[in-house]
Assembly symmetry: C2
Homo-oligomer: 232 residues x 2
């Protein structure tokens, strides 16, 4: 059956999310030390990374937890200095990976519908898309808040298919997470592309995947080779 | 003959250029006064606007001329304060008009090629396109530096047609300037769309146009109504 839509994971597939987050954390630590937090950079960094492993990279109150651990309490001057520096860097740094925009444009030219299935919260997903001016490219955007479920759960995939009025065999899913993205999509019979370039940068431990992806890519523009020019 | 490409003027057609420039000038005047330039805001504003009328909105050394007029010399502390404030606002404010990106995407979906013909210098044109992440949308970008001629001269239009391998009857040109854009394109037999929304905001005096545009639009998304869905 012909592929009619290409769906993407967002963070680490379209956005170099971990790089952005790490640069923002560097700035936050420097800013907190600047207003008086007494800790070496290296020690602060180690504690923060341990907390990310424990709470996940999307945890929104990580600096609160961090300060409780380091100071025994949350000093709001220090917290705010960290948050402001963090946001400034993060905002200026939400950039798509190289070749994302021209690849999306080429896929649109070739007649494919495009979509996003992300585990990011709704507001974060949309602010990132808007920050990159990518909000107009997608026919469907499914966030974890929209479906109250996260990949590899089948719900976000089912909702995306329903909104596009397409069958599993008619879409291709592109993601960097072997379990959430690849297993999640394959379970439903969706063909998958493993975005290898986004994989290496994760922090958390991962379970073993059950399925193999149909394709692997080292650059998002490799999709153009996978997907034929003319649609049936 | 079927339309196969839509070509656009850039400033005041895709970008609200005058608004951006005026906001940046407000910031520059405030910053120059802040570091010691002794002049009222209103007087400074009037002098600056008169200089723009005289030198044109694209003149790159306008603050040098301004300071010579106001102080009798160029004080580099004042000049730099003005330039830094100007650039900061301008950079954060290069935004496409509403509906530009979704309209371009819809036109791409409908199979049209897209292009830019601008009188802006090459570097300015490209930095604005890149600032808006619009650099990937266009099959051809012709700037005044590329052809050593400005609209309504036929050269930039001819170069764009040649690069696209299209005849004048196969393209539609969209612009806000009745003489440069509409007359320039019509002379060659190119169908034109007058972007009325960009017209009112100009400062310079204009000569009278010779031709009437084929269409007038109040919002760029009106193009979607003008251009048919299916191409021959």
């Amino acid at each position: 059956m012909t592929i009619k839509a290409v769906l993407f994971d967002l963070d680490n597939t379209l956005i170099d999310f971990v790089k952005m987050k790490m640069m923002a954390c560097e700035a936050a630590i420097a800013a907190m030390r600047d207003v008086g937090l007494e800790i070496s950079h290296d020690k602060a960094w180690k504690i923060l990374m341990d907390l990310f492993k424990q709470y996940g990279l999307e945890y929104q109150k990580i600096f609160n937890v961090f300060l409780k651990r380091v100071m025994g309490r949350v000093d709001y001057k220090v917290l705010s200095a960290g948050i402001v520096a963090y946001r400034k860097v993060k905002e200026s740094f939400v950039e798509p990976y190289p070749h994302v925009i021209p690849t999306l444009i080429e896929l649109i030219k070739r007649g494919y519908k495009l979509g996003i299935i992300t585990d990011a919260p709704r507001l974060q997903a949309w602010t990132r898309l808007c920050g990159m001016k990518l909000q107009y490219f997608f026919d469907v955007v499914v966030t974890s808040d929209d479906v109250k479920a996260r990949k590899p759960h089948e719900m976000p995939f089912r909702v995306a298919l329903k909104k596009l009025k397409l069958k599993p065999e008619e879409v291709l899913f592109v993601g960097d997470d072997p379990v959430k993205d690849i297993d999640g999509a394959k379970k439903l019979g969706i063909k998958t592309v493993f975005a290898k370039y986004g994989f290496v940068k994760k922090l958390e431990k991962r379970p073993k995947p059950k399925y193999k992806p149909d394709f692997e890519i080292n650059d998002i523009q490799d999709l153009v080779k996978i997907l034929p020019k003319v649609l049936a």
